[in-house]
């Protein structure tokens, strides 16, 4: 299996973990060909997660924009409220096959932590979730959800006490416990084989979307839009359309308070190539190679790196990467809530905002698919605080 995407990806990790990664790749390659594994995964995705998720034609939003017909891929309707569970189901099944009895995960906004805690409960495994102390505070509801599910949430106070530090701490724990522990990475980053594996588990989003849009409209969409933090929902969505030359693929990074301000999470649009958490990719960093904290109103996009395959797609032009700032994302959050009765996650709101920009470039008989990667219930507090700070 190829471990690099051009110059990106790879396995930049301590020797102590290399034998674990080699074994993981081997077992994953066997599992993905095993009909028993695949059947169980598909059953769980159908009956437990609730797939397939609808592809919903958002008529009022479409009329509002005046252009392309906008479809929403409703990953927010999945069990636990986001696309994250597509991946944790796959990784937990693999963990069980490999005889692991404990799952660990990093989480930022808490959605991946909840999705991991959920499958740990489902499979009767113990679960420790590493979460930056700052995030523990700002996402307290998700902390309670994880604990209710039986997981232990370990606040990480080192470094900037956010997602990147949670991932550092998860890796440190994993180095010492790899014999019985499976590290469930939540995005298409980390050392090989994680980016490839997570993409494959999330590719169900793109496969379904392609089939659904063909069934509904008889043709492929003009454009497909997804938000990019680490980039797992985007990679899963794009995976369905990579061979379709006429479908424009757009990844949306978080511009935070504007890329020029330095307060953003746009690794591709505002970063440089570097190495973090096991892979080479675009990274927010100082001139001296120190990784800097990302910023976005959306905690789930708040990561200084990005999946290495996205970096590759950015260089090759396969995917177009734009950036949406906090204000636009919040406006899109409100608009979708008001027009369609759907409260999107702040992460997904970035993709919705990009669709608002893009739609007028097309005609009504052309379609845009937006990956609505999660629901916004978790973001009520963040949105309220954001608006309060704006009104001051």
């Amino acid at each position: 299996m190829n471990s690099h995407y051009g110059i990106y990806g790879g396995q930049y990790i301590a020797e102590t973990l290399m034998p674990t990664l080699i074994e993981l790749e081997k077992q994953y390659l066997i599992a993905r060909e095993d009909p028993v594994f695949l059947r169980e995964m598909h059953e769980l995705l159908a009956d437990y997660v609730g797939r397939e998720s609808p592809l919903y034609r958002a008529d009022r939003l479409t009329r509002h924009c005046g252009g392309a017909t906008i479809y929403l891929k409703r990953e927010d309707l999945n069990h636990t409220g986001a696309h994250k569970i597509n991946n944790t189901i796959g990784q937990a099944l693999l963990a069980r096959r490999m005889g692991k009895t404990r799952l660990i995960a990093e989480t930022g906004a808490g959605m991946h932590g909840v999705a991991t805690a959920t499958v740990a409960a489902l499979f009767g495994m113990s679960c420790d979730v590493f979460m930056g102390a700052v995030d523990v505070k700002r996402q307290s509801v998700n902390v309670e959800r994880m604990e209710t599910l039986g997981a232990r949430v370990i606040p990480v106070t080192t470094g900037s006490a956010t997602l990147k530090d949670a991932m550092n701490e998860a890796i440190r724990n994993w180095v010492a416990t790899a014999a019985g522990t499976f590290y469930v990475i939540g995005t298409v980053a980390g050392p090989h084989p994680y980016p490839a594996m997570v993409r494959e588990f999330q590719s169900v989003i793109g496969r379904e979307s392609r089939r659904q849009i063909l069934a509904k409209t008889g043709k492929l969409p003009a454009e497909v839009i997804a938000c990019v933090g680490g980039g797992s929902n985007a990679m899963g969505m794009f995976a369905g359309f990579l061979d379709d030359r006429n479908v424009k693929l757009t990844g949306v990074e978080a511009a935070g308070r504007g890329i020029a301000s330095g307060l953003h999470a746009a690794s591709i649009n505002g970063g440089r190539v570097g190495v973090l958490h096991g892979c080479k990719t675009y990274l927010l960093q100082t001139d001296d190679g120190q990784v800097v904290e990302a910023y976005s109103v959306s905690a789930g996009l708040d990561y200084p790196g990005v999946g290495p395959e996205h970096s590759f797609f950015a260089d090759s032009g396969k995917v177009n990467y734009t950036a949406i700032d906090d204000d636009e994302a919040i406006a899109a959050f409100d608009l979708l809530s008001h027009l369609e009765g759907i409260i999107p996650a702040l992460e997904s709101s970035h993709a919705v905002a990009e669709a608002l920009r893009a739609a007028p470039r097309y005609t009504r008989d052309e379609a845009i698919i937006v990956c609505l990667s999660g629901r916004g219930d978790k973001d009520m507090e963040s949105v309220r605080k954001y608006k309060e700070s704006k009104n001051k």
Partner: protein, 263 residues
């Protein structure tokens, strides 16, 4: 180029003792203090110095070295400044081998080709990139070609077949991680460690084997002395230096050096 590493290991072998390797996070608490502290560490009996380059995301380090790195970064340590510090140290310590100990991103940002030119000129004898396993080691090929040793890491998790591949083409010495985990002082080392080190030395010969991670006292060092060509002390020295009590670090090094000479 002078083969300081080879000379040091030969001297130690003649004296029937392992070399004492001391890790120091450069810039903790300040660059000026580090420069003075390294003089003192060498004076106290350090045979080889690992120049620790601080990194924002030290995934392989425990709390002590993480903390030291944060202090160093807050106080303005950069690889450029560390390299010029190394150059000054080299003038004062012509025989002591220096190993640049870093996470790869900092080296990558600085530029590997630039390092290949600078490191031999500054008298740096080896590079150890914690997160650059065999699979990615080609990244440092220009540095290796410049004559600087690329120090390979092995761990208890490394199977023997892989260990042979890892060692092949490397120079200087083999850094054997004593425990699966992060850096940090440990009260007890695994009981099977001496036997593992013996096996590792057979496998790596003629490359010497340094044992590191968890060695925290002169006694622990003396216990491992018959089984390794070098012993690394990191966190146990870094802790007191970060806490503003460098004398304790110098005493630990002096006591260890003394015990190793007697053992």
């Amino acid at each position: 180029m002078k083969d300081r590493l080879k000379n040091t290991f030969e001297t130690c072998r003649r004296e029937n003792r392992p070399a004492l390797v001391i890790y120091h996070t450069i810039g903790c608490p300040t660059l000026e203090a580090s420069e003075r502290d390294i003089d003192r560490l060498i004076e106290a009996g350090a045979d080889i110095i690992e120049l620790g380059v601080p990194f924002s995301d030290p995934m392989a380090d425990g709390p002590v070295i993480q903390n030291a790195g944060q202090i160093a970064l807050r106080n303005g340590a950069t690889l450029k400044k560390i390299l010029s510090l190394a150059g000054r140290l080299r003038e004062r310590h012509p025989e002591t081998p220096f190993i640049l100990f870093s996470y790869y991103n900092v080296l990558f940002n600085h530029g590997v080709n630039l390092l290949a030119e600078e490191l031999p000129r500054l008298g740096i004898d080896g590079v150890l990139a914690v997160d650059l396993p065999l699979e990615e080691r080609a990244e440092l090929a220009p540095v290796a070609q410049s004559g600087v040793a690329i120090i390979p890491l092995l761990s208890p998790a490394t199977p023997p077949e892989r260990a042979k591949q890892v060692i092949s083409g490397c120079g200087g010495f083999v850094y054997y991680i004593t425990v699966c985990g992060v850096t940090g002082a440990r009260k007890e080392l695994p009981p099977e460690l001496p036997a593992r080190l013996d096996a590792m030395r057979k496998l790596s010969a003629p490359l010497p084997v340094a044992a590191g991670f968890g060695i925290a006292s002169p006694e622990a060092a003396a216990q491992l002395a018959p089984h390794a060509d070098a012993l690394v002390i990191g966190s146990a020295v870094t802790g007191p230096i970060a806490a503003g009590e460098p004398e304790k670090a110098f005493e630990l090094v002096a006591a260890t050096a003394k015990l190793l000479r007697r053992a």
